[in-house]
Symmetry: C2
Subunit: 432 residues, 2 copies
């Protein structure tokens, strides 16, 4: 499975398609055995992967990659054990392909229902984390899909070793090795070619930064998952309970600031602000959060608040126009005072990315309006936006979070990697 040319890539696509037809009909037992084999190999055959990763890591160091990037690239024995445990978790999930839905008997006696089927071949283009190679392979196998993976240049050796391990492990379980295709050539022209392979790839999942996701969304000829960009607001209504508001905002911003469902902008109702804003700001800055506040928030916080440049906590700075609609992915948040729920809704409609939005309120009508009117993948009342996650929503696992409305919205788990066909069982019915 050496990918040298576009013709090799197309051949991998054809192999994946052929394997997908077999995979679609394999029993849960065989698919689960393949997953358990992958887990076992990750636990007991780490040497080749760790050696490859060491070369990748050293090369990335000498290329001057940032510490954060280097850490994302790094594999260790423990990290591989963690990944193996996740694969065992996927094996333990129910098989989505076993399901037939909505089977009913029509008045003419026809039994009509929908049988869940895999999408076919899932493509994924991702950046440095080699973990994604295992993650996407496992979720695709469980949902009966073949996959075609193209990882980042920095992790090429690691990914190649992982893909080899996966193919061997699934082959031993009776799953065609061709169900997992890895593009082991980092040439950019192959990415362009992959985006054009709509006859071979049924869905493309980009995993990585803003730039990659936009590039895939704009250039893929097949459906692609648009998502991963979360400009998330938490609106503290005038009817908010102060302790709850402070706790939720603190969690949404600080529990894991680098991810898409972390809080970016705090909107505060003008009547709630005098009581709650100083406390929330104090807690956040004490934890090291930098706050970009509009002038009304600054005037509530008082002139001394912006002088804290010397304090150990986070700074308070005046917000500028670019702070609205900005995904910080760090210990920074914007703060704005609004005059009403309507103003909050307008701000979210204008600046939100349709990912995760929350209101904190004890006012029933405000809560209902927020749930009805905010157009986002996940809309929260009195809870942290950090819950927008496949695991937290009970899906077991996820390949990503979709912010589009077509096919699947929000966390995409195993079922979201499937389609259905109508099955009709008759005993001689004809149409009148």
């Amino acid at each position: 499975m050496k990918t040298n040319t576009v013709e090799d890539l197309l051949e991998q696509g054809r192999d994946a398609r052929a394997a997908s037809r077999i995979l679609a009909r394999l029993s849960s037992n065989i698919k689960n055995q393949a997953l358990l084999n992958i887990a076992e190999a990750l636990e007991t055959q780490q040497d080749e992967v760790l050696e490859a990763n060491e070369i990748d890591h050293r090369s990335a160091q000498s290329d001057g990659l940032s510490e954060a990037m280097l850490d994302r690239l790094l594999l260790t024995g423990d990290r591989l054990l963690g990944t193996a445990a996740e694969v065992r978790g996927v094996a333990a999930l129910p098989d989505p392909i076993a399901e037939t839905m909505d089977m009913t008997t029509m008045s003419n006696g026809l039994k009509i229902g929908k049988k869940r089927v895999p999408l076919g071949v899932i493509g994924s283009i991702y950046e440095s984390r080699p973990h994604v190679t295992i993650d996407i392979s496992a979720l695709c196998l469980k949902s009966g899909n073949a996959c075609m993976l193209r990882g980042g240049k920095e992790s090429l050796r690691s990914n190649t070793a992982l893909a080899k391990l996966v193919r061997k492990a699934i082959g031993d379980a009776g799953v065609p090795e061709d169900a997992v295709q890895f593009v082991d050539n980092p040439d950019r022209s192959l990415v362009d070619a992959m985006l054009g392979m709509k006859d071979h790839i049924d869905l493309l999942i980009p995993r990585g930064g803003d730039g990659l996701i936009r590039f895939v969304a704009e250039n893929a000829t097949m459906p692609a998952v648009t998502g991963g960009i979360g400009v998330c607001h938490t609106y503290i209504d005038r009817g908010a309970e102060l302790d709850m508001a402070a706790r939720i905002v603190f969690n949404a911003k600080t529990q894991r600031p680098s991810v898409c469902n972390a809080l970016d902008t705090i909107l505060v109702h003008v009547n709630a602000a005098p009581a709650c804003l100083p406390r929330i700001v104090e807690e956040l800055t004490a934890a090291g959060v930098e706050l970009h506040c509009d002038h009304r928030a600054l005037s509530i916080l008082g002139p001394q608040s912006t002088g804290g440049g010397e304090s150990p906590g986070g700074k308070i700075l005046p917000a500028n126009e670019e702070d609205w609609g900005r995904e910080f992915l760090s210990m920074t948040a914007a703060v704005k005072i609004v005059d009403s729920l309507d103003d909050a809704l307008d701000h979210i409609e204008t600046y939100g990315s349709g990912h995760s939005e929350a209101i904190i309120t004890e006012d029933y009508s405000a809560a209902m309006r927020f749930l009805d009117e905010v157009d986002a993948a996940a809309v929260f009342v009195n809870a942290s936006t950090r819950f927008n996650d496949g695991g937290q929503f009970g899906l077991g696992a996820e390949v990503g979070i979709s912010t589009q409305k077509f096919h699947a919205r929000g966390p995409m788990g195993l079922k979201e990697l499937t389609s259905y066909k109508w099955v009709i069982m008759g005993d001689g019915q004809v149409r009148e």
Copy 2:
């Protein structure tokens, strides 16, 4: 709403988007009143529409359109009453937007569910039938979507009059008139522009022939419904019951031969052919069906069968390679003898279009394998493929039949014009 330039088209797109936000939140009562107003206008204010249609029709006659095309274009008082009755039918269907699905309480007390929401703005590009203007408008309104319609050149005046009637009727019910946008300029450059409006149109539905559907699928920048092309097989297994096989094949081919779910190719197991083929062929040819048979079928039918050129019924001709995988849309079918279920499955995989496929059998294992292994929107055992239809499947109405796996497959009814958002109701939960 005069569409002169691409800039006008973009303005219509913006107007549709703005209207869609209002429409998404309207009560079922208001949407249903809008539909009843449309029906009433079609019943009582026919003059302007019929006059416009007469001009269209006369102009199409002098342009030399075929009788079939002229008939599709023609509106009459009775046809408008029929359309009005269909719109009343849509008003009577349950509102898909009322539904919240899978609401469960997680162990941490969070209530999590999915609320059904409209897709937003639906575009449709269609050919001569002016009926589609009403049909798509009604289904979009009911499902809370705004729409942007571009009909065929031949029916421009009819469609313009119908769109005017619809906008007035919905405006009287309190629905924004801008929820229905009609492109009243037949210039092709505006079609190209429409295909690029992915920020204004969330889903594009082409309605018409093969060429239009392919053009939209290849050039649309937003998701488009791929479908409407049905190369439909009925396989008569060696375990088939003869009377049932004859009845189903006859119905699938002759009940309405011009539509996508009509039978195209009859596959007959070699062991079943001697008993059933002569009878089926006799019944079909007597009804005027022309049959293109492979050489093995011809030899079973005997030399005299191909001499029937003078008889009043349909001819029997030798099949050629182009007959496999051909959508006849007429009183013609291809006939092929196969040696096994596997050969039938291979033929369907090679030549089918993933639309509607049927097996006639009393053999349990053959039925199960056919249901599991055929990759099509609808797979039938012992029933006519003509049942692949939103009405017959209990969806109430349909905008078309999708042969793609993404988002919706098979008949697309009201629910298939929707998405969902996750709604989460908490009482202060934060993520650990």
